[in-house]
């Protein structure tokens, strides 16, 4: 990949790392949230639903600023985390957090839809056969929603790859630390003669997005065929 300069390569590698971590780390919470919203009735259901979707409708800069206020070193959560040695502000981990928050609504929506498509009667049947709630989830619900989970994860990954506003507001644009592909493109476009580098990163972005989409299509189709029981 020597057609990419070291700076550009660094941005691509960082973006992949940030997006991967953002997706994987938020997946369990995403599944849990989707399940709770789809299946449980509890006070504050609407509030949780609203909070999850908030990053989708707020200006990303606002989300980034709220993250900075909360997780910055002087923020209520950030200061506590700092005491135990975790710093998010202006680090790649912060970029991952911003990407995860921005991608969360898309992930939850996709998974929730697939959970709502699972017939609760199948879960009842599993219970009568002796499976506890956790086993019902692991052996019936989870395998059946796998296509939805994969779709949600890929969607979240793609969103994380493209996240810009919240990231640059929360963790700035530090080369090697928080300069992801979108931030790098933005930076290259700010200096004269940077168009070529920007163009190369644009191509990388398109390639990564297309690959992710194709892979998810193939996996989802395979699993859907298995789950449909034919």
């Amino acid at each position: 990949m020597d057609w990419l300069g070291p700076e550009e390569w660094q941005a691509v590698a960082l973006s992949l790392r940030v997006s991967l971590w953002a997706t994987l780390a938020s997946l369990p919470l995403g599944i849990f949230t989707a399940y709770a919203l789809a299946r449980w009735r509890f006070p504050g259901h609407g509030l949780v639903n609203g909070l999850v979707h908030l990053p989708l409708i707020l200006p990303p800069v606002v989300t980034g600023y709220l993250l900075l206020l909360t997780f910055g070193t002087r923020g209520p959560v950030g200061s506590v985390l700092q005491d135990i040695g975790i710093v998010l502000a202006f680090r790649w981990t912060g970029a991952a957090l911003a990407a995860a928050v921005m991608a969360f609504p898309l992930m939850v929506r996709a998974i929730r839809l697939s959970i709502e498509a699972v017939d609760p009667k199948l879960e009842q049947a599993a219970a009568t056969l002796g499976a506890s709630r956790l086993w019902v989830f692991a052996t019936v619900t989870l395998p059946m929603i796998l296509p939805g989970i994969i779709a949600g994860a890929i969607l979240a990954f793609a969103k994380a790859m493209g996240e810009f506003g919240a990231t640059i507001t929360f963790v700035s644009n530090i080369p090697g630390q928080t300069r992801t592909v979108p931030s790098a493109i933005y930076a290259f476009l700010q200096v004269p003669g940077g168009e070529d580098a920007a163009m190369r990163l644009v191509l990388v972005s398109v390639a990564v997005a297309m690959t992710a989409l194709l892979v998810s299509e193939v996996i989802a189709r395979k699993i859907a065929a298995r789950v449909s029981g034919t």
Partner: protein
């Protein structure tokens, strides 16, 4: 093992208030749609939590609202055969069958997989997925899956209702074998008089959420006052023994000393069978008819007469073969001056008895 149920549950516009005991064998909850049968089945399996009640299966209390006791469905060990099968689409037939075994308590007596597969005739389906099965095959797998979860009790909620007549006829013999070969009691929900006649050891007749009668199948079905599906589907059970198969396609049976002729049935001579005689297939005659095409004539005496506002009446007759129900017009009751104690003859056309009315005993 005995199941003992006492329930009170209010649903919108409907109050279920039922109490019954289910001894070993197949106990059929019998009644119209909306009489509360499925609600009871779900409460027994723990899929519905009734307002009040007490359910005891083989000395284990499954629920007791007075003591605030309620056992979760996965701890009840009740195999449920649902109307629509509910097989897991992402698992093969073999994996579906083995699902319950995973969760069965250590040391529980589990039916042998090979035996159940053989009993239900599903050996050639094991590697398939449910999506590739016919309705009848799905139900047989569902029965096997419930059996193999080491259940104390099996609940079957109209397992044949979604099938056409041919598929029903295909599964009924398996259910009979289940009743006779497996020692697990079965609570069977049905609104089909034929299924009740074929399968029931005990009948619990339900009407509008209440038990109107419970007892041995032959006894309940021969009571003219108990017609949960309406007089049109009333019919009594006769127990008989196969005597011989004749060359003209008839099977001769012996019912309490009376000869009975039926269209050929599969059971060999010597076998005991139960036959449902639909009340509207019975003609009554004060004198022994002669020159009549009907082959079966059972002499007896009128035990009971039930007439409503409609044109029909249901009579029960004591015959040597057992109690026979007859549905005739009120006008005939009057013109033949039939009253309890009157002796008369029940005439039953041989061809009126369909194969699905005859079951193994």
């Amino acid at each position: 093992m005995t199941l003992s149920v006492s329930l009170r549950h209010a649903l919108p516009g409907f109050l279920l208030d039922a109490e019954f005991d289910a001894p070993p064998g197949i106990t059929v909850l019998f009644g119209r749609s909306g009489s509360g049968k499925t609600t009871i089945a779900n409460a027994v399996a723990g899929l519905l939590r009734p307002d009040r009640g007490r359910i005891v299966a083989a000395d284990q209390v499954l629920m007791d609202s007075d003591r605030g006791l309620w056992v979760a469905p996965n701890r009840r060990r009740i195999g449920y055969v649902f109307q629509e099968g509910r097989l897991f689409p992402h698992l093969t037939v073999r994996q579906n069958l083995a699902y319950g075994r995973w969760f069965a308590p250590k040391g529980a007596r589990i039916e042998d997989l090979a035996h159940v597969v053989d009993l239900l005739g599903i050996g050639n389906l094991l590697t398939r997925r449910p999506g590739a099965l016919s309705g009848g095959e799905k139900q047989r797998v569902a029965i096997g899956r419930a059996l193999l979860s080491a259940p104390r009790l099996i609940v079957a909620d109209e397992p044949l209702a979604a099938l056409d007549e041919a598929r029903k006829a295909e599964i009924l013999p398996f259910l009979e074998r289940l009743r006779d070969e497996v020692e697990i009691p079965i609570l069977y929900v049905s609104h089909s008089a034929a299924e009740v006649a074929r399968l029931a050891t005990t009948v619990v007749a339900l009407e509008n959420g209440r038990v109107i009668r419970q007892g041995a199948a032959a006894e309940v079905l021969s009571d003219p006052a108990v017609t949960p599906l309406g007089a049109r589907s009333a019919g009594a059970l006769l127990m008989a023994r196969v005597v011989a198969h004749h060359d003209d396609g008839l099977t001769q049976l012996d019912a309490g000393g009376c000869p009975l002729f039926l269209p050929r049935i599969p059971q060999p001579p010597g076998h005991a069978v139960r036959i449902r005689i639909a009340a509207h297939d019975v003609i009554l005659s004060r004198v022994r008819p002669e020159g009549l095409s009907a082959l079966n004539i059972l002499p007896g005496t009128v035990r009971d007469i039930r007439a409503g506002d409609g044109p029909g009446a249901i009579l029960s007759l004591d015959t040597a073969a057992g109690v026979v129900l007859a549905r005739v017009t009120r006008r005939s009751v009057a013109s033949l001056s039939l009253v309890p104690g009157t002796s008369c003859h029940a005439v039953i056309k041989t061809v009126a008895i369909a194969p699905e009315d005859v079951g193994a005993l």
